[in-house]
């Protein structure tokens, strides 16, 4: 990150992180269309995905206004390559089995829930109002994903095993979500973003509570963590996600409308 970042730059960066995480997780859920383990889950997954992409659109629109270089919300979503994307590493991980899908969702939802709750209090009205709408949706996402983590953890032997493996495998992507960098510190100081320490504590508290109730073993807090998304260093998955997601706008650059 640049050393002389203005508050406006920090805010743009932060909005892109919010938008990109929503967008990529929505995209991952779209991949599951027609492949969920029950029809009720088809509905619920698409519902969550719809909320997320809707939130992404709101954040992209505001980001586009602030960036103000002629790029639209669609351009931000469909014309940036992986090194410009700022989503959390967590959300770009493959769907895996349904324990992975739900574990990924739960770790993200927990972060999303506390983050967005804080943003509803932002002095920037635009942020507060987008966050207020999102908060209700995320409450449902979190209830749902934590319920599935419990079902799997405290369900059958097989589901317990799968859920524990998913938790263990995904754990290394949780660190960067609750570890504030300069951007997040700066926004917190400006009274816009969540208190990083509070966010980390809330996230840890909730995750511990749910995993424990699910009879799962929470991995150690000091486990090695994968980092890099905040500076555009993603896992190898993101490039493939974007190649698919961005194909049409890139293949038909002259198309003004779709």
């Amino acid at each position: 990150m640049s050393k002389t970042m203005t508050q406006q730059e920090a805010l743009q960066e932060y909005l892109l992180r919010l938008a990109d995480s929503d967008m990529i997780l929505g995209q991952r859920l779209c991949e599951l269309c027609g492949k969920a383990p029950a029809l009720e889950e088809e509905m619920a997954l698409m519902n969550v995905a719809l909320d997320l992409v809707g939130q992404a659109r709101n954040w992209y629109e505001y980001a586009a206004e602030l960036i103000n270089d002629g790029r639209s919300a669609d351009d931000l979503a469909f014309k940036r390559d992986a090194n410009r994307y700022r989503n959390a590493l967590m959300v770009e991980q493959p769907n895996g089995d349904y324990a992975v899908t739900m574990g990924r969702q739960f770790f993200f939802d927990a972060w999303h829930y506390f983050t967005i709750a804080a943003l509803t209090q932002a002095p920037d009205e635009r942020i507060a109002s987008i966050a207020a709408k999102a908060a209700k949706e995320i409450q449902y996402h979190l209830r749902r994903s934590s319920e599935w983590v419990k079902r799997f953890g405290d369900g059958t032997e097989e589901s317990h095993q799968r859920m524990q493996t998913a938790v263990d495998d995904l754990w290394r992507f949780t660190g960067e979500m609750i570890e504030a960098d300069e951007v997040e510190q700066q926004l917190f100081k400006a009274g816009i973003g969540p208190d990083p320490e509070q966010l980390a504590a809330d996230w840890r508290g909730l995750v511990n509570e749910v995993l424990t109730e699910a009879t799962l073993t929470p991995p150690p807090e000091d486990a090695w963590m994968y980092r890099g998304a905040k500076v555009g260093h993603h896992t190898e998955h993101l490039g493939f996600i974007l190649a698919e997601m961005q194909f049409l706008p890139r293949a038909y650059p002259d198309a003004k409308t779709w």
Binding site: R151, F152, Y252
Partner: protein
Amino acid sequence: MSPEEREFQLKVDAETKIEAKNWMPEGYRKTLVRQISQHAHSEVVGMLPEGNWVTRAPSLKRKLQLMAKIQDEAGHGLYLYSAMETLGADRDEEIDKLHAGTVKYSSIFNYPTLSWADMGTVGWLVDGAAIVNQVVLQRTSYGPYSRAMIRICKEESFHQRQGYQILLDMMREGTEEQKEMVQDSINRFWWPSLMMFGPSDDQSPNSQQSMAWKIKRKSNDELRQMFIDQTVPQLEFLGCTAPDPDLKWNEERGHYDFGEIDWQEFYDVLKGNGPCNKERIETRKNAIDGGAWVREAAKVYAEKKQQKQQNAA
């Protein structure tokens, strides 16, 4: 006819809805279960050709629309399975039959979606054809099915307009490549959409009883003609053509004439020899079979929870 049958038929004739608790002939029940389950399966399998493009939708707006449409379809599947279950059928059993290939779904979903324009065409032509059928089915004699249809029709009409709008935007404001995409999509989906109404009346032996029971209210050929008559002006408004040299207005009949459907193709696809039959069923079967442990875990967890509550009580 037994007294029960007579009473039943009188009710049907008087347009009184038959409800789950009412007596009904076994044939009526069976016909309805078959029809509603096929309809439900079609909603679910119909998510796949759209799922094929939902990850590649070209704008945020279109992506959100398509996601909402897919979600609606999952919802329609759920209503319809519920309506079917009021007749004593079991959803899991019916799904097993689908996967075993003994129960069908709409053959249209065995055609591949090959370009984004297909998301418009599927909405406009495929949902359009479905609606022509379903509008009539709102008055079907079985209450739960009729009510499901009323609810579904409203959403489907919305999808159809959205689909048409996709094509219209591309034809009006699109590049040459986009326009070509639209025409190519219509070329591919035109005939399969006409086939959605089933075989022509003289080849459709089951229809008559269904008409008497008012499960079905118009014949396949009548519905097909209705669809063509309403669709051709929309086609012209788009500035596109149909891949049918015989399509033209017949002043005398007050209807559009159209060419002969390739019934060989129709029966081929029905028999399993369509472009995507294998893939569609495989995808669904893998989803449900692969999800067995998920459903089992949910069941066991619910039982454990109930047990705990009982113990606490």
